[in-house]
């Protein structure tokens, strides 16, 4: 089995775009690793660099301890699933799955046998003779996975494999993929720009921006303690509150309120970060007028207009929504208030 190691990898396109910028990354053997970030931040490029479809301009890529920087994709023991699945339309499901074996000139019976076994494992048993055009999106995705698995590669690379599925199917596929990965113990790198997907599935997450990794950690770390305001903004199904504030005499002055920073902090201008999920009604805290209530299902997102032109969002359980226009005082749960340097945006 094989882990992945990137050391100082940069990938520059011929037009001069530096899509991956001096990036260091280690993915452990058998780990389910998610690359997360906004559009254009270099996720696909990084994945393609690992696969060998793009050549690293500098730095080195190792898989399973062996340097593969200059190797062709076909010999890296890496299987890639593309966003559009890239199934061959003129081949049946069975031929598609067994294509890696055909390339290796494996005999026909072996190919059919491997296709049947892999397909059965992915719930495709009845579909072997169909063409990709006769399959649903979810089935196509599983055929693409089956083909990747038939390569018996040690590393699986997935580029937004779920983004073509509808919301319902995506949840099913998520669970399915996670279980499959665990059963096979494949080292998996998974690209997504859906943070919920990354949080739900990954062992570890790297949040990227402009070709660099902004934060690397477990989903819990990244969700609870975003390393900077960029990550804070990006992670979370509701946007994090990032409020201008000032630390004075050990207290945080924000929107006319004085909050406990949860530890000693020098006096300085800061940005306060609080997740809407971690705010609740309290006798003391930030006071504001309810201006908007949005229904999110089990919870509702309430927007408060606070002093100093600050708006604060918080979530409340269903049936406990305050009426629009009422006045509310809210405070963060202990330990859930984050302070960022107002110049660098780094967590302090």
């Amino acid at each position: 089995m094989a882990g992945i190691e990137l050391a100082g990898v940069s990938t520059v396109y011929p037009n001069g775009v530096r899509a991956v910028d001096a990036l260091d990354l280690t993915v452990a053997d058998g780990e389910f690793f998610a690359l997360l970030g906004p559009s254009g931040c270099g996720k696909t490029t990084l994945l393609r660099t690992i696969a060998g479809l793009e050549q690293a301009s500098s730095g080195s890529v190792s898989i399973g301890g062996a340097d593969v920087t200059r190797l062709e994709p076909g010999v890296r023991k890496v299987a890639m699933v593309f966003q559009d699945y890239a199934l061959f339309p003129h081949m049946t499901v069975s031929e598609n799955i067994a294509y890696p074996l055909r390339v290796r000139r494996a005999p026909k019976p072996e190919r059919a046998e491997t296709a049947a076994r892999t397909a059965a494992g992915l719930g495709l048993a009845g579909l072997l003779e169909r063409r990709p055009a006769q399959l649903s999106g979810g089935q196509q995705q599983r055929v693409a996975l089956a083909r990747a698995m038939a390569m018996s590669a040690e590393v699986l690379l997935l580029d937004e494999p779920l983004s073509n599925l509808d919301a319902r199917l995506r949840l099913e596929a998520r669970t399915f993929l996670k279980r499959l990965q665990r059963d096979l113990g494949l080292t998996t790198v998974f690209v997504t720009h859906d943070q919920a997907e990354a949080l739900a599935m990954a062992d570890r997450i790297a949040v990227m921006s402009e070709g660099r990794i902004r934060q690397l950690g477990s989903p819990r770390d990244v969700f609870q303690r975003p390393a900077d305001t960029f990550v804070a903004n990006f992670i979370g199904s509701t946007p994090m509150n990032l409020l201008p504030a000032q630390v004075r005499n050990g207290r945080v002055e924000v929107a006319g309120a004085h909050l406990d920073p949860g530890g000693p902090h020098p006096d300085a201008p800061v940005t306060v970060g609080i997740r809407p999920e971690y705010l609740h009604e309290a006798p003391e805290g930030i006071t504001g007028t309810v201006s908007i209530v949005e229904n999110l299902g089990v919870t509702s997102l309430v927007t408060l207009e606070c002093p100093q032109d600050v708006t604060v969002g918080l979530t409340v359980p269903e049936h406990e929504e305050p009426p629009v226009g009422s006045v509310l005082t809210v405070a963060p749960r202990p330990g859930r208030l984050l302070l960022y340097d107002s110049d660098t945006g780094q967590l302090t």
């Binding site: 060998g52 479809l53 076909g74 966003q83 890239a86 294509y99 083909r147």
Partner: protein
Amino acid sequence: MVDAPPARRTGRARDTAGIGVARAVTFVSPALVLIGLFLVFPALWTIYIGITDYTLTGTASVAPKIVGLGNFVEALDDALFGNALWLTLVFVLGSAVIGQNFLGFALAWLLRGARPALRRVVESLVLMSWILPSVVVAYLWIALLDRDGGTLGALIGSPGTAWLVEYPMASLVVFNTWRGTAFSMLLYSSALAAVPPSQLETARSVGASGWQTVRDVVFPHIRGHVLTNTLLISLWTANDFGPFLLTAGGPNHASETLPVFIYQQAVPSGRLGYAAAVSVLLLLVNLVVSAVYLLLLRKRS
């Protein structure tokens, strides 16, 4: 039984464009007249001449007689006709089906990943050989292949080889491959652009060789293009009069393809009736070839 919706009587007078049938006919009539005048009439006229003993000079030029299928029977018996048919086949297979097709595809495939500057240079060069007038091109090739002072002779250090005399068919095949590759290259370039890159990359990442990629991924996507291209260049090549400009069919009929044979019969020999009959036979060959291609195209799609 569910009642069928009341069938609307559209029939012949169906007016899809919505401009009125009379006006539609008026619009297309100039085109129809031109096609009739310059395409249909000469074709019918050729068939008519083909069954007469019409000649350029002599009594038969004034009062040609109907000889029925005599010309056709004679052609099928004529060793020179058989020779011309065979040479046409060699010419089409060698320079179009194999030469232009493969070279055009190879250029398109190799230029796909090339730098834009290189790509433009090669494409312009290839296109140049296609758009130059035949007379100019033929003159250039005669200069290239000439026995004394020919450029090729000077280049490979073999002066004294009269390429067009000693290897007339080979010269024609090379010439026509060079001359017509641009069309195949352009057609395949645009066909290749329609092959999804992720499928090519999938092949690459499972370790497929270049040949395996072409066979398993590229070809199934462009099969229709291959057939269409092969049909077009085959027909053009079969009817091409270019060989006449280089070798005039010689030496001793060694490069006399059907169009050259027809010309030789019609003008120098003056046997218009016989030449027309052979033209009709060439037309039939074209029709058969087209029918086979269309059948193939229909079968696979």
